[in-house]
Symmetry: C2
Subunit: 187 residues, 2 copies
């Protein structure tokens, strides 16, 4: 994908990574709210403006690694060969749920759950994913825009609900049974 990264881009990526790592370390160590942007910048040895040139907001620092979720979701729709839409999405969402339930993610999830700002940010992030997903689904000309938006949001809902459930995978199966029924009701 990136044949000759070039020194400049490598340095840029390194700076970005250093900022993200430092921020996550400080957040997990002292808590999200008590650590200020100025603290992160000082610890990463960059200027405050540099932090904001790499990340749009303080909350974005926490979700720096989750940015490919959006692409994975849309590719799960566009790249499928013959497979039906709902099962493909089911599979992808299951992988995402598993990834977030990994043991190493537990402290991060706890931090997100205990900060209203982070929760709100994640919710709006997921809504943006739903919009992208709806666009991808709408490539099928048989479905109305309303239907596509609905399925997209239902799928995102399923992710959010299953992740917080006691038994995520079982809950996800149940949720996708509902989504499948909703999808099939459009004849």
């Amino acid at each position: 994908m990136t044949a000759p990264p070039g020194r400049r881009e490598r340095k840029k990526a390194a700076t970005r990574q250093k900022i993200a790592d430092t921020a996550l370390r400080l957040f997990l160590d002292r808590g999200y709210d008590p650590v200020g942007i100025r603290d992160v910048a000082a610890e990463a040895d960059v200027a405050v403006t540099t932090v904001f040139s790499h990340f749009a907001s303080k909350e974005a620092l926490v979700f720096a690694q989750d940015e490919d979720f959006e692409h994975r979701l849309t590719r799960a729709v566009t790249d499928r060969t013959g497979e039906a839409l709902i099962p493909a999405l089911h599979r992808e969402i299951r992988a995402m749920v598993r990834h977030c339930a990994a043991r190493e993610r537990a402290p991060i999830q706890r931090m997100i759950g205990s900060s209203p700002a982070l929760r709100t940010y994640e919710d709006s992030m997921l809504l943006r994913y739903a919009d992208s997903l709806a666009t991808a689904i709408a490539a099928d000309p048989d479905r109305t825009p309303t239907t596509c938006r609905a399925i997209a949001r239902f799928v995102i809902d399923a992710y959010a609900i299953a992740r917080d459930a006691a038994d995520p995978e079982t809950a996800l199966d149940e949720l996708f049974r509902m989504i499948g029924a909703a999808w099939d009701a459009l004849d």
Copy 2:
């Protein structure tokens, strides 16, 4: 409900109303972003801290009137006598969509639509409504928590999607056909 309001509470309510009215007037007049909290406070002739003692944030000023939506939704579930769940919710959401599509609301909707901060705030507000609604639905012991949360979020999705559709009422009918199918799939 509130037998003797009392002078103190009347004055408090009046102050709150004055702040909300002033804010909405200034926002619609000069735009949401350009008008600061200090402008609103000065124009309403109160202190900045008084504004924040009545409203949790600047965005909340815009949605001061929509606070009974949450109660209307939960009551639509708890107060129904024999009526099935989904039709009752369909009726209530239709009323809410109609209310928001009223001619007098157009400038406000336009303002909300053109401000990312307001859009995000409304989205998180709707998610809170979904949580309340899920709790109300969960009063029926036959349904799992996961199912209740799913239906609640689907219903809120339907509201959000229908409101932005070209033909809101037709879209809402289609969306509730999907929700009904999802609901019936749980046997």
